[in-house]
């Protein structure tokens, strides 16, 4: 049985619903139909996270090689312009690394927020229309939460994989088998977790925030926003 009851004359009620199952259906359809648009949004996330991941993983590799304290590996490091003694003396991030990590984080924030903002901004009219049909603000947030969770998570996973594989490929050319002999499992796992957290959190917030502000507008204002 449904909760639907004919509206009694003159009586204003409250109950409006959007079951999660329907919200998932709407979000999935929305991604599928705008497939290429969704792919481009996702592409923004993939690139940003791949960059972040490669900086972090590259760092981890160098540190692991330096702490192997093997003369052969030290020579390889020196050949690539890295002083193993310096790395060992100061195991934290060097100035150059700090700069690179901050830069890659910045790329992530700007890249992901931009991609998500755009994908929501072009749908303000749709949000206004849904409000006219009786949607609560929370329905809009629900739908965009689901969509951005999907695009964000898949994009982040792809970015992590691509960033990791490219860095590994580059390191195995520079340092040959030494990379695999001194593979820093803990460090890489940490980089994966951090990149994943950054990617998904940024994606979801960057989509929900504009969707929520659009939902809070008077419907007529949301519909008048030029795309």
């Amino acid at each position: 049985m449904s909760a639907y009851e004919p509206a009694a004359a003159g009586k204003i009620q409250k109950q409006i619903v959007l079951p999660w199952s329907r919200a998932v259906e709407i979000a999935a359809k929305s991604i599928k139909i705008r497939f290429w648009r969704s792919m481009i949004t996702m592409g923004g996330v993939v690139l940003a996270i791949a960059f972040l991941m490669s900086i972090w993983t590259g760092n981890t590799f160098v540190k692991a090689l330096a702490f192997a304290k093997d003369p052969g590996t030290d020579v390889l490091l020196q050949r690539n312009g890295i002083d193993p003694d310096e790395v060992r003396a100061d195991p934290g991030l060097s100035e150059r690394d700090k700069w690179l990590v901050s830069l890659s984080l910045l790329v992530c924030v700007v890249g992901i927020v931009n991609a998500m903002l755009m994908s929501v901004a072009e749908r303000f009219r749709e949000i206004g229309t849904m409000k006219c049909l009786g949607a609560l603000d929370s329905f809009i947030v629900k739908i965009f939460f689901l969509e951005s969770t999907f695009t964000g998570t898949v994009g982040t996973l792809l970015g992590v994989a691509i960033g990791f594989l490219l860095t590994l490929a580059r390191a195995s050319i520079s340092y040959k088998g030494a990379v695999f002999a001194n593979f820093p499992f803990a460090g890489v796992a940490m980089a994966v977790l951090l990149s994943f957290a950054v990617g998904t959190t940024l994606s979801i917030f960057a989509a929900i925030w504009p969707a929520r502000s659009a939902a809070r507008m008077e419907p007529v204002d949301a519909m008048q926003v030029r795309e």
Binding site: M1, S2, A3, Y4, P6, A7, A9, G10, I12, Q13, K14, Q15, I16, V17, L18, P19, R22, I26, K29, S30, I33, R34, R125, E126, G128, T129, M130, K131, C132, L133, G134, A135, L136, D137, F139, E218, P219, V220, D221, M223
Partner: protein, 248 residues
Amino acid sequence: MAGPTDQTIVRVKGVQKIYQMGKVEVQALKGVDLEVNAGEYMSIMGPSGSGKSTLFNMIGGLDKPTEGKVYIEEVDIAQLDAYELAWLRCRKIGYIFQTFNLIPVMTALENVTLPMTFAGLTTDEARDKGAGLLDKVGLGERKFHKPFELSGGQQQRVAVARAMANDPTILLADEPTGNLDLATGREIIELLKELNKDNGVTIISATHDIKMLDVSDRVVRIRDGAIDRIDTRAELAIEIGTIDGSTE
């Protein structure tokens, strides 16, 4: 059920709206009073910029007046919380727009059933009811078409079916024929009139389409943010006669 009753369904009292355009204040509505009876077909006419759309948006609870009150079935809509307002938009009022405003990623049927989902109908109930509504507007064969696969007139028919989804008491149409050619526009007007007659739904339409005059019970003319005059159909018949040289 047909024809207007003497029961007031919408009451507009001293409504003013002031927009802030940069540093300039624009007074779009300068104190409008209006009563609409249940079952009535009312057209709001006026040149663009007259405040016609603004008044329309106020009646539909799509925008808030700066001053004054709007009552729907004697309830002051400014007093409603977000849930009640959503309920009102979902169950009591159906909206039709000049630009159709269908959800582009959904089929005709999904567009029509979306408000039913919000109202708590199960998927099966909504599908059956939606199919019935699409049959009624003459699009039974196009249930699974996306908006971009439909002509303007067909999209507007879907929008009409969607507006009727939860058997609203009021149908608000903002320039429903504005983006349509003459013949298609006439079809939409006839469809609205039919719903007005058969279902007894009150229709309030902002328009500057002269074809609307034929079917309206009353025509409200807005000029410079105020009501210029209100004509009943009897008065209009004479006037159309003098303009067109015929009473058709």
